[in-house]
Structures are given as C-alpha cells and as structure tokens.
C-alpha cells in the first residue's frame, strides 16, 4: 500500500519578526530583524541585552477561549495563537473532523514566572529572613494558584490546542531540544502518511526570555555579547546566540483531502530524517546535521543537486557553524556548487523548540514567492565555514525543493525536505 502524500495547507507564525505569515515574510525578505534591546525584562548589567521579543501579541484576537488565558504561560498562548492563524490560513476553523485530526507540538522546558514563586517563597521565611521548607509547605505553597503547575507543563501546547479546536486524534509533545519542532512536524507527516489522521496541527513554541533561562545560557557560554549585528551565522565574528520567543504551526493535510477542498497548498513534505550524532552531548557541535539531511534526501528519493535552498540551523555559535558548513560541503560540494543557503536566526532569534518550524515556514514562503531571504549580519565570511549564503538582500530564485536542518545539544539531529506544491 503506497504511503499517502502529505501537504501543508496552513501556516501560522507568532514571532519577533511578525505575527502572521505575511508580516513574517516581509521581515525575512526586507532583512528586518526582530531582535532588539530587551523591554520585557530589565537586562541592564547583563552581558547580553539583546533578545527577540514577540511584539503586539493580542490574546483576545488569537486565543479562542478567553478564560483559559490565565492558565497559559506566554509560550502556550503563542502556540495557540499560531494554530489559530494556521487554521484560518487553511480555512479549517469549525471544519475539523475531531477523530481524524491530530496535534503534535514541540515544546521546551517552561520555567515559572519568578514573581509568582517569589511571592510564595517570601511567605516562607523565618524570623531571620531565611527560606524554610517547613514554612513553604505550611503557608507559602498555598499562595500559588491551584492550576499553577499546568500553566507551565510542556504538553499543554498540544492539550490546549486539542481542546480549543476539538482534535481527538493522535496527540504528542516532543521535547528534543532544538529539534523539537522539526520532529513534531516529521512525525505528524508519518502519522498522516500511515493513515491514522487526515489533518495534523504540527509545530512548536518556545520562549527562553526568562531570567533563569538567560542565566543558564550565559553560564553555558552560548549567548552573544555583542550590542548589534548579532547573531552572525557563519561569520568570522560570530560569538553566540540571541534568545528569542515565538511559535509556529502548520496544517498538515493528506493530499486528496486537501484537493477535495480546493485549498491553496503551500508545499509537500517529502522527506524526513532523524539521527543522533556522536560527540560531546553538552555541546551543539558534532557533525552539523549531515546524516539527518542525507536521510531526508534519501527518504524522498532526491539527489543533492536537486535541492534549491537550504534553511540552515545557523546558530552563530562557535564550532557548531563549522560543523554545519562542513556537512553542507560534504553533501552538496564546494560553496559554488551548493544550493542557496540561508540562516534566519538573525531575524527570528533562537527559538529552540520552534526553530525548525520557523525555518520550514521560511522555506514554504520561499517556494511560494520564488525568493530566498538573506542571512543578516554576514560581513566577514569565515574561511572555516565556506557556505553559499544568500546575503545583501533576498535572492529571486524558483525553489522546487527546500531542505531544513536542525540539531541540538543532546545530540539529536533532524531534517525536513519540502517540495513545491504538486500540480
């Protein structure tokens, strides 16, 4: 029995570079970064003041059930908002078949708002002002609101989405670091292909713009300390990530199901590769995603020379960029033989569990618009990272196949291959 074909019929984006796919595309092609000095958090004195904040997100417009907003942390609201946008794009609001619709969302660890915990901890101090667990258990704990835990659980993206839109089919939450969205989408594709669903809401959401997360990344040495022109993937001056927040959702649909509705198709998911790369687990750099990219190509029966564009992971971090550049060279050849490569994290920031989805959205829009967005901040090519980067403006190009690459600390590595819509 042949596998069913899986296409994308809706795209929803909530990012620092625009809410909605049109503003997102506009930011990408105009080279307008969503990165700026932090406004939601006071980062004065911190070596890194730049973040990619979502601006102007209105829960009243994008989160269908108002009362639920109180029990949804910021990232969960983004996830639901991106899903609303994707469903509107696909024309499926109110038209989903519950038992044939699944949800798979990538998520990161969500840390509680520290003011909520601060209030509880401050009620748990002894007469010398020291925290005492006995007091926390007796008094402090009760000052947290009852659903506090649920506000931050990673599986709540997928749960709220399934509740809001009545999706009763297969349902998963992937927490695979920077590969989470890529894998959520890849697995959703497999489930639709094997016939257990006709429609899947797949994507990812993340938001590391909390004090604890920022301290973590800083201690790990991953954050850029530059005041501007950062992150700078593959550039000689690159010095690390800029953390972002956001969410992305795709409506995946079985091809004939989509054709019957005469809906616009953004592209077809034709390949998915997922591997683990040997090396030090606590770091990002290993083999740059080579095996996963090859696996995605093989899955689709596509040769490297057929690929028109690569949406690189492009972290802008040390040896990770070298590893990825070398992987691209091994697969596609020297820079002058490579497809167009672009890295969009200078526009979106690093949104970890949503990253692969943001890159796939850029890939879909590149295919639809016949243009590949530029890689910002690329001024001094690094001889160790010879990559055929699109720079100095978007490049007009008819892209038939776009490859998305993601890899994570922890060793996970995943890639997706998108083809232009079938005729």
């Amino acid at each position: 029995m042949d596998s069913r074909r899986v296409v994308i019929t809706g795209i929803g984006v909530v990012s620092a570079a625009g809410i909605g796919r049109e503003p997102y595309w506009e930011h990408l092609t105009a080279g307008r970064s969503g990165i700026g000095v932090s406004t939601n958090l006071d980062l004065n004195g911190f070596p890194s003041r730049l973040v990619a904040e979502v601006k102007g997100f209105d829960p009243r417009r994008l989160v269908a059930q108002r009362k639920a907003v109180k029990v949804m942390c910021r990232e969960i609201q983004f996830a639901v908002g991106a899903t609303q946008l994707a469903l509107e794009d696909a024309g499926l609001i109110g038209h989903l078949e519950p038992d044939r619709t699944g949800v798979n969302f990538g998520a990161g660890l969500m840390v509680s708002e520290i003011d909520e915990l601060g209030a509880a901890f401050s009620r748990s101090l002894d007469e010398h002002g020291r925290f005492e667990l006995k007091r926390f258990g007796r008094e402090g704990l009760a000052s947290l609101f009852p659903l506090w835990l649920l506000k931050y659980l990673p599986n709540m993206h997928a749960c709220h989405i399934s509740i809001f839109y009545d999706c009763r089919g297969p349902n998963n939450t992937i927490t695979a670091g920077d590969c989470s969205a890529t894998q959520a989408i890849g697995e959703a594709m497999q489930i639709v292909a094997r016939g257990d669903a006709d429609v899947f809401l797949a994507g990812g959401a993340d938001g590391k713009l909390t004090p604890l997360n920022l301290v973590r990344y800083e201690l790990l040495g991953w954050l850029s300390h530059r005041e501007e022109g950062t992150p700078a993937p593959f550039d000689r001056r690159r010095d690390g990530l800029v953390v972002g927040e956001g969410a992305v959702c795709f409506v995946l649909e079985e091809l004939e199901h989509a054709r019957r509705r005469s809906v616009r198709i953004w592209g077809e998911l034709v390949g998915y590769g997922c591997t683990w790369e040997p090396g030090e687990i606590r770091q990002h750099s290993r083999s740059g995603g080579e095996l996963a990219m090859r696996a995605a190509l093989e899955d689709a029966g596509v040769k490297p020379e057929e690929v028109g564009a690569v949406l690189a992971h492009g972290l802008g971090l040390g040896n990770a960029d070298v590893a990825e550049a070398q992987a691209l060279e091994r697969i596609f050849g020297a820079a002058d033989q490579q497809p167009l490569v672009t890295a969009i994290k200078p526009v979106t920031g690093h949104v970890s569990a949503a990253a692969g989805g943001l890159e796939l959205a850029a890939g879909c829009l590149a295919v639809a618009n016949g243009a590949v967005p530029p890689t910002l901040h690329y001024r001094e090519p690094d001889p160790e990272c010879p990559v055929n980067l699109v720079r100095d403006g978007a490049r007009k190009e008819q892209v038939h196949l776009a490859l998305v690459n993601t890899f994570s600390f922890g060793g996970q590595s995943s890639a997706l291959l998108l083809r232009e819509p079938p005729q």
Binding site: P98, D115, Y165, I174, L212
Partner: protein
C-alpha cells in the same frame, strides 16, 4: 491503521527498570507479586508540612555499581541515573553487542521528564532579590551567574537522557523525547514501534524516566488536589486505586526501558524474545486540562485504536494494567471506558493497578507498566491492586484485589492517560511464530 496488513513485527528482546520497589526488573516484580507497597514518608526533602508528605522513592544506590562508565560524569540528575541504569539492564539482557553493530539502524525514543531544578540555590536567588513584590531581575541575573552551575542546569533538559542512552550504546539512528505527562513513556514505546514497522530502524531503545519528588513537583500536584492527603500516617495505604476511599495519587519515581527489535533481526541473532508489541493507540480527550472527559471518550478511543492496530478482539485480552492512579475521577472514568470497549467481557478480565504499589511514576509509568504486562505474560501471574478494602459501586470490575493471581495471560493491555487529555494504550502479546 489497517489491521492484518503485511508489516514488520516488533518484539521485545530486553527490559530494565528502576522503581521505588527496587533496582532491577526481578526485584521490582518480586515485590509487586508479593503485594508490597513502596510508599513511605518523603526523604528527599523536608515535606513534613506539605499536604502530602509521602511518596514512593527509589532506594539509594550507587550508579557506579550499575553503569560504571558513567559514574565519573558529574551532575547527572536523578532521572538521568535511573535512565542509564534501566537502559543498561535492558541492553545487557538483550545480548546485543556494545556498541550496537548497526548504529544507523539503532535508535532511541524516550518519554523522559525534566530533571529537578537546583531548588535551594534558586530560592536563595529569588528571595535575596525580592523587592516590593517583584524580583529584581538585574540582581537575579548577576547573582545567578555566581550561584548556579551551568552543567546542573543543562542536565535538567528533557532531551538529555535520550542523548546519553544513544551515547552508551552507539545508537545513531532516530532519537527523540516526548513529554505527554503520564502517557509519555507508553507513547515513546508506541512511536518507537511505528519507527521499526515503517522500516526506519531495526532496534529501538524505548522507555522513559522521571522524578518529580521535589519541592515544586509535590507542591504543584498538591495545588491541583491530585494527591492523596489523608494517609500521611499510613503511607502504605495511600495509593488505593478503585477503592471507595481513594483520594488521589501518590508520586513515585524511576525508569523503565525496553529493547524493541524487528522480529527477523531478533530471530536472526537468536535473541530471547519476551513478547511482542502488537497494538498502539494515541488520542486526545479534547475536553479540559484538569479533568478527564466524564465518559472517558479519549480513553475509549485510545483502547479501540490499540485493539484495531493489534488486530485483536476484546475477547483476546487476558489482563489490563490500568492507568489506575487512585484519583476519584480517573478510576471511575477508566472503568466506564473499559466497559464501553470490552462490553460484557469487561466483567471477566482481570484489571489491576500497580500504581497501588509503585506510586505514580508520571512520565516513566507507561514503560514500567508495559514491562509488568510482559512479566505477567511470562509468568502467568497477575500483580494485584493492593489496598482494595471497600468497593466503589461505580467501579465494579475485577481489580485483582490485594493478592496476585495465577492466570494464563496471552495478551495484555496497558493504559496511560496523561494530564491534559493525551491518552495512550498499548497491547502486548506473548511471542508466537505466526
């Protein structure tokens, strides 16, 4: 899924566990079949004033005794140690060479939870920077950089255990982690099964680990009124699934790991086969984040999907390892769903909740319970639901009360229903040639 179509079969060639009843499968199984409870006053932190001050904790052990090559690795979290220990037991039992002879065809899919945060340091950071009802962020950031440890922070990430398992055995194939709350490790087994079926791997290490017995974990569940609060003085009686006087679950911790293998690959190397994963169903309640659907529609759909995938009828199920958390809602709704799915047969199938003894391992529960099903199949012995003292008229099925029971078990079903409405059901069967 079309049942009965030609597809690759997935068998279990190794399993490993770390549970509050002991380190290792046989130790846990012995305790389960004897009806012993692992629930005690919490030792991991001072929970004496918490509404719930009891939990099922893994007895202290040295990682060096089980996974010597990882013992020198600093700052591994509790859940990571459980993962490595259980995975080592499973892999060793499978007889596969190390590293795996087929790295690209060997993958890892876990449902592992996050690690525990560096609580006391975090609290100090917050308290020391608390000004007029807010945390002073610049102060928190500056002190955080001095007080917190990069590696301790990184090791809390839920995708790290899957990385370590891959590293331990050289598995370079598929690698993922899911975190669908209480369904996570069942989901991992189900998804790993599909990965082998569709030809993307021949061997998958699947399972999960979790430990939420920490100040914020217990606090979170107490706030939800999900935990039993009236049994602090009688911990062994606290987890009482299906009993009229049940009040909520009791937290446990641990890990369960399985080696899943494509059948011909397993036979080709003469592997010992413990059983076969024949069915997997995943659904969502799509109802509320706090409560199961009152008719159990998501649970019902998951069980039906698993049975259909397995190509078996309800008559063929000889044992159900229930989700059976000991909450008022779950046990009632699960009973209802089982009746809907099995019909009259529901009254004749033994059902037990081993959470009565292990507590609720959250993300790790599913994998541990799948292994328990395989042991029941192997030994023809069904572990009991202990603390079953007063029947609840709304829970009127056979829950194998208090004592293990001898019975032939050819096929078993394992339910795992996650907070928020993500439901998973697995069907496992004794391995048979055709």
């Amino acid at each position: 899924m079309v049942s009965g179509r030609e597809r690759r079969r997935v068998v279990v060639t190794g399993f490993g566990m770390v549970t509050p009843l002991g380190v290792g499968v046989e130790r846990t199984w012995q305790a389960l079949t004897e009806g012993r409870s692992a629930i005690v006053p919490i030792r991991l932190f001072d929970a004496s004033t918490y509404p719930t001050s009891i939990a099922a904790q893994v007895p202290e052990y040295a990682l060096a005794d089980y996974v010597p090559e990882m013992a020198a690795r600093d700052h591994l979290g509790r859940n990571e140690c459980f993962t490595l220990t259980a995975a080592t037991e499973a892999y060793r039992g499978s007889g596969l060479p190390r590293p795996t002879p087929r790295p690209r065809r060997t993958g890892v899919y876990l449902g592992s939870g996050e690690g525990a945060m560096d609580f006391l340091n975090f609290v100090a950071l917050v308290v020391d920077n608390w000004r007029d009802g807010h945390v002073d962020v610049p102060g928190f950031l500056a002190e955080g950089r001095r007080r917190l440890n990069a590696i301790i922070e990184l090791e809390q990430e839920p995708n790290m255990p899957a990385g370590y398992v891959a590293q331990l055995f050289g598995a370079q194939g598929y690698n993922s982690n899911c975190l669908t709350a209480c369904a996570a490790s069942s989901q991992a087994i189900g998804e790993a099964t599909d990965i082998i079926r569709r030809g993307d791997a021949d061997i998958m290490i699947a399972g999960g680990s979790h430990s939420m017995i920490h100040p914020l974990g217990v606090a979170g569940f107490n706030l939800l009124t999900a935990l039993a609060v009236g049994y602090n003085e009688q911990p062994a009686k606290a987890s009482r699934p299906f009993d009229l006087h049940r009040q909520g679950f009791v937290l446990g911790e641990g890990a369960g790991m399985l080696i899943l293998e494509e059948l011909e690959h397993a036979r080709g190397r003469g592997a010992r086969i413990h059983g076969e994963v024949i069915g997997y169903g995943s659904t969502a309640d799509a109802f509320r984040i706090t409560d199961s659907h009152p008719e159990g529609r998501g649970a019902e759909a998951a069980m039906l999907a698993a049975l259909t995938d397995a190509g078996v009828s309800p008559e063929e199920i000889d044992y159900i390892n229930a989700h059976g958390t000991s909450t008022e809602v779950n046990d009632r709704v699960e009973t209802k769903a089982i009746k809907t799915v099995l019909g009259e047969r529901a009254y004749h199938v033994p059902i037990s909740s081993t959470k009565s003894m292990t507590g609720h391992l959250i993300a790790a529960a599913g994998a541990v319970e799948a292994i328990i099903c395989l042991l029941a199949i192997r030994d023809g012995l069904i572990p009991p639901t202990i603390n079953y003292e007063t029947p609840d008229p709304e829970c009127d099925l056979d829950y194998v009360p208090n004592k293990a029971r001898r019975a032939t078990v050819r096929a078993a079903m394992s339910n795992s229903f996650g907070f928020g409405g993500q439901n998973v059901c697995l069907v496992l069967r004794r391995y048979e040639e055709s």
